[in-house]
Symmetry: C2
Subunit: 208 residues, 2 copies
Amino acid sequence: MGTTERRARARDTIRTRILDAARELFVRDGVDAVTMRAIAKQIEYTPTTIYHHFRDKQALLEELCLRDLSSLAHAFQSIGRIEDPVDRLRRLGLAYVDFAVDHPAHYQFMFMTTKPSVSTATDTASPEKNAYLILLDAVRAGIDAGRYRPEFNDPHQLAQLMWGALHGVVALQIVKADESWIEWRDVRETARAMADLSIRGVLRSEGQ
Amino acid sequence: MGTTERRARARDTIRTRILDAARELFVRDGVDAVTMRAIAKQIEYTPTTIYHHFRDKQALLEELCLRDLSSLAHAFQSIGRIEDPVDRLRRLGLAYVDFAVDHPAHYQFMFMTTKPSVSTATDTASPEKNAYLILLDAVRAGIDAGRYRPEFNDPHQLAQLMWGALHGVVALQIVKADESWIEWRDVRETARAMADLSIRGVLRSEGQ
DNA sequence: CGCATAACTTAACAGCGTTAAGTTATCTCT
DNA sequence: AGAGATAACTTAACGCTGTTAAGTTATGCG
């Protein structure tokens, strides 16, 4: 009578505490600073405890990112409803960059490191996949509306082009920001310029 | 005499053997498979020996990449002499992509991982820096020749845009190639499309 | 009250990069 | 030729990592 519920609630609490501790290390000191022992120390448990709540470190960080990805997911959901497919594409790109700049550690873990193995499992609805599908939809709508040059008729290639263009700007920044021999320009500005120029590059010329 | 020379030669030999062993692990099993112990085992020495020839693992891998970077450096040198600045820029991009696709482990180590700390040292002539300067030159020449839209008048930003665009395509591929829910297109083709579209995106319209 | 089960800890394993100290061989110099 | 320096290499360890088997403690239930 309610005791199992309370237990479940307690379980959720400690789960959340673990995630919060991990997040703090994650965003403060970067992805490499997140060690099982450091998390454990912060919440005053032994490292082993964490393994009673998460399969392993990878699973922990994946769930952490999954939760924090909701901001991006929401943005994508609402932007995905914009009528004009080209404007929609552009706005998706800008939201993507915003997420990367605001959550560099999350971004690095999700988009710049190789996952240990493809989880064979057919987990159909990861937010990553979902975001890609929203991007794909926008691209496809633009193609169908005849907005792009005829050589860009493959939605997947075009989606990967747009994704790649913006990923490149933010990824380079995250990794090479403190190499002072590069006169870095503001990431957001560069990314905006990238969004504009890459869309213009695929757009059918204005004079039809 | 000449014994010191012979010594130096022997020293170079073992150095090279270490680098070769590291390279084999590097390209065969990826950057994470390169451990000091694995290298040592392969050349039948103790791990400690490696430390008599290289300051640490980072230095070893840096020298390895530096040596193997010569192919890219040569390509950049000769392409850098192409007269037409826009064509030059395009060809630089394609050579860059070729290197990344042919040496993914090298690329990953050099452009997708954070170096432990900026080496404060003013080592003026790293090939990376040199390649960036060649890129910068090409971009600047194009700007000076009035080939690009007036809003792209900052050589650094434009260079970072071009670099980022191509980096994004290859980096995404390296990290996410085996995520099967993405219908990946051929990297080289996508990269070529990227080079074309991004150049078109910054080019002054044809009709002046 | 007795027992199952969940929560948590202790102690360890195997692997990593790295280093202090010790050994062995080689070359140099008187 | 013998003494001593020096370079090359090894042994053994330190501290760190992720992870796990086994043991302990507390909690809820019949």
